[in-house]
């Protein structure tokens, strides 16, 4: 099912819109402490911005934005960020995922916890984005074969 439309209008419009969706996704991830949002929603939005280009352009073009071979390794890296934050806290004397043992002494305990939440939200956002893109890519590939 590799049929991309030839219309330049669709390609131009999705090229214009996609970075703004991506920017809003990043805002949703990083502003998730103070407004509705977080890793899952922001990751889904980042995936939407990537899939928009994947739907409207042909393979040569969308490989320039986000390579197909990157999606599973980056998802593993996102899970690794989450796990690594938990493991760092455990190695420094606390329980698993007990953030206030993280090595950030210049802040108060509550602030260190907020930073820990931010770190794992970035990991979750990365994993959700790449896995949604990976599911789309693999479904497309499997349909072709």
């Amino acid at each position: 099912m590799k049929q991309s439309s030839d219309s330049p209008i669709i390609l131009l419009l999705s090229r214009v819109i996609s970075p703004y969706i991506m920017l809003f996704g990043l805002y949703v991830i990083f502003h998730g402490h103070y407004s509705p949002g977080g890793g899952f929603q922001g990751g889904a939005m980042l995936a939407a911005s990537i899939l928009l280009i994947r739907i409207s352009a042909e393979e040569k073009v969308y490989e320039l934005q986000f390579k197909k071979s990157f999606d599973i390794p980056l998802g593993a890296f996102g899970v690794l960020i989450f796990f690594g934050v938990g493991l760092t806290a455990m190695l420094l004397g606390g329980n698993f995922l007990d953030y206030h043992f993280l090595p950030m002494d210049w802040m108060s305990k509550a602030d260190i916890r907020a930073m820990g939440i931010l770190l794992i939200e970035v990991g979750v956002g990365l994993a959700v984005m790449t896995i949604l893109v990976a599911i789309y890519d693999n479904l497309l590939e499997g349909e072709d074969a």
Binding site: P36, G38, V124, G142
Partner: protein
Amino acid sequence: MKIINYTSLVLIGLLLIYASLGLPYRGDAEALVNKEKSLIGSPVASSYYIQNAYKDMNTPNIVTSILGDYRAFDTLGEEVVIFTAGIICFLLLSKERKSETK
């Protein structure tokens, strides 16, 4: 056969409606899950989160602080689940492609 299916659907619906009669009123702040203390006097989880989330981690969004800190282990397991789903898609759909090209 179809008759049995339809009647079982209707019976399940009636059973669920009968069960819903015992549920608390919509938006009832006095319902058991929304109280400050449970029946045996221990603090109820959601009320504890509302009262202590900002003090514990300086995060105004309580949902984020539950997701990222109080129940972080849950979120870790869930992230592993979606990663596994991605790997399953990859393995299921790219195996046959390789064997065909050989």
